[in-house]
């Protein structure tokens, strides 16, 4: 693929573009890890927030509140530098970035999904009760299928936040689009000036995020139709 870019854009721009696109791969991987891991935790947290149990409600509420309030940057510093130095271990940037972004994602997604569940009219819950369905049956058979409709658009929108959030992971040495681009911008190579590299990086991030934004907008319109 590199040759193709070099043929098209010449050196060194071709090399830079192909390297940036290759590094964007890790941005995508990290986003997927955070999205899947965070989604799993968020499911548990959301479940704990909607079931009628005060202790679990309180814990899941505190979890969401705490990790929504902690800046992502501080989370990265804490997981990537603070805690490892405190215990005296070395941690791989992949693991540190994965953990911080997963926690960040889980806190926000659980809030989004709780909102989707709360958007369902109370009558639906009461209807489930009237039909002698258990809480779990009501949730799975009646509430969740309807909540899905409200939940998809904001979930996709949040995926954009995750992709943008991964750009901070370079601070703890995670090798992704951001780190490589910054290195190229600092390199004294003609053709890799900051005013070329950074718009290029922005363009790559944009082409990752914008299709999702359009998709989210379309889903939102569709969910409003019903």
């Amino acid at each position: 693929m590199e040759d193709l870019f070099i043929n098209f854009l010449g050196k060194p721009e071709g090399i830079i573009v192909s390297q940036l696109i290759a590094a964007a791969r890790f941005t995508v991987y990290l986003s997927l890890i955070a999205f899947l891991g965070g989604g799993l935790i968020a499911m548990v947290i959301t479940f704990c927030r909607v079931i009628p149990n005060q202790t679990l409600n309180f814990f899941s509420y505190s979890y969401t509140w705490l990790f929504q309030s902690v800046p992502l940057l501080m989370m990265l510093f804490l997981v990537g530098l603070g805690i490892p130095r405190f215990i005296g271990i070395d941690i791989d940037p992949w693991i540190a970035a994965g953990i911080s972004l997963t926690i960040f994602t889980s806190a926000y997604l659980s809030e989004v999904w709780r909102g989707a569940i709360l958007a369902i009219p109370k009558g639906q819950w009461e209807g489930g009760k009237a039909l002698n369905l258990s809480f779990r049956q009501t949730l799975i058979l009646i509430i969740l299928p309807q909540a899905l409709r409200y939940g998809i658009a904001p979930t996709i929108s949040f995926l954009i936040q995750i992709i943008k959030g991964t750009s901070l992971a370079y601070i703890i040495g995670f090798h992704d689009l951001m780190l490589l681009g910054k290195r190229w911008a600092n390199a004294p190579v003609p053709g890799s000036e900051p005013f070329i590299i950074f718009p290029l990086m922005a363009l790559i991030y944009f082409s990752l995020c914008y299709p999702l934004a359009i998709f989210a907008k379309r889903m939102e319109k569709r969910s409003l139709k019903y």
Partner: protein, 223 residues
């Protein structure tokens, strides 16, 4: 494996650094937030009124800002623009410009969707009362939008405040910068980052509460 927070607290120098960092972080965010809101107001008006050509440019601008990370915008504004246009600014001006641009994109989107959420019947009623477009906007659309969208605006403001730590990357002596400096001196990373986290949470709570109070005492009374 022991907490040694006292290494931070006992030094007057470190406490002063943190205090200065708080003021710089909060001040820059607030200033950028206000400037960003003004810019967003203009952008959203162009988009809402479908001003020829300008609305396309504004939509593209808003979409581009919303779909690229703050840190890339910051680096472009700090390292790209000055070498392209040949000006020299202090670091905090670059940070202010980047944050303003970022704020304006998000606020413009919120305002735009607020304008569009006003029911059509009200606009027709205004037209029936012979109000022109400007009066309709000022008397009917704007007040309702601000009241309706205030929660979104304030939570977006706080979300961006929580990411302003990245301006330390270009050498602005904000709260994160102070923390990193203390970390490099003492190597008590865990303690210092916990301290910073708590300070950020407290600051965002102060912002949230004061925004709510401001809303209650001004516009909230009408709505």
């Amino acid at each position: 494996m022991e907490f040694r927070f006292f290494e931070i607290y006992r030094s007057v120098e470190y406490l002063e650094l943190l205090m200065e960092g708080i003021l710089v972080s909060a001040g820059l965010t607030l200033f950028a937030g206000v400037l960003g809101f003004i810019l967003a107001f203009i952008l959203a008006a162009f988009i809402y009124w479908r001003v020829v050509l300008l609305n396309v440019i504004c939509i593209a601008y808003v979409d581009f800002i919303r779909n690229t990370p703050l840190i890339v915008q910051l680096f472009f504004v700090t390292f790209g623009l000055p070498s392209l246009l040949g000006y020299v600014w202090p670091f905090w001006c670059h940070a202010l410009l980047a944050l303003t641009i970022n704020f304006s994109g998000y606020f413009a989107e919120i305002l735009r969707s607020g304008y569009l959420s006003i029911p059509k019947g009200q606009l027709e009623a205004a037209a029936a009362l012979n109000m022109n477009r400007l009066v309709t906007f000022r008397k009917i659309i704007l007040p309702q939008t601000i009241i309706k969208m205030f929660p979104s605006l304030s939570s977006q403001f706080i979300f961006i405040f929580l990411t302003t730590g990245v301006i330390s990357e270009i050498g602005v002596n904000d709260l994160t910068h102070a923390g990193l400096f203390i970390d490099s001196r003492t190597f008590r990373s865990f303690e210092i980052f916990i301290t910073l986290t708590i300070l950020y949470i407290i600051l965002s709570l102060i912002f949230k509460i004061s925004l709510e109070l401001l809303f209650k005492n001004t516009l909230g009374k009408r709505g």
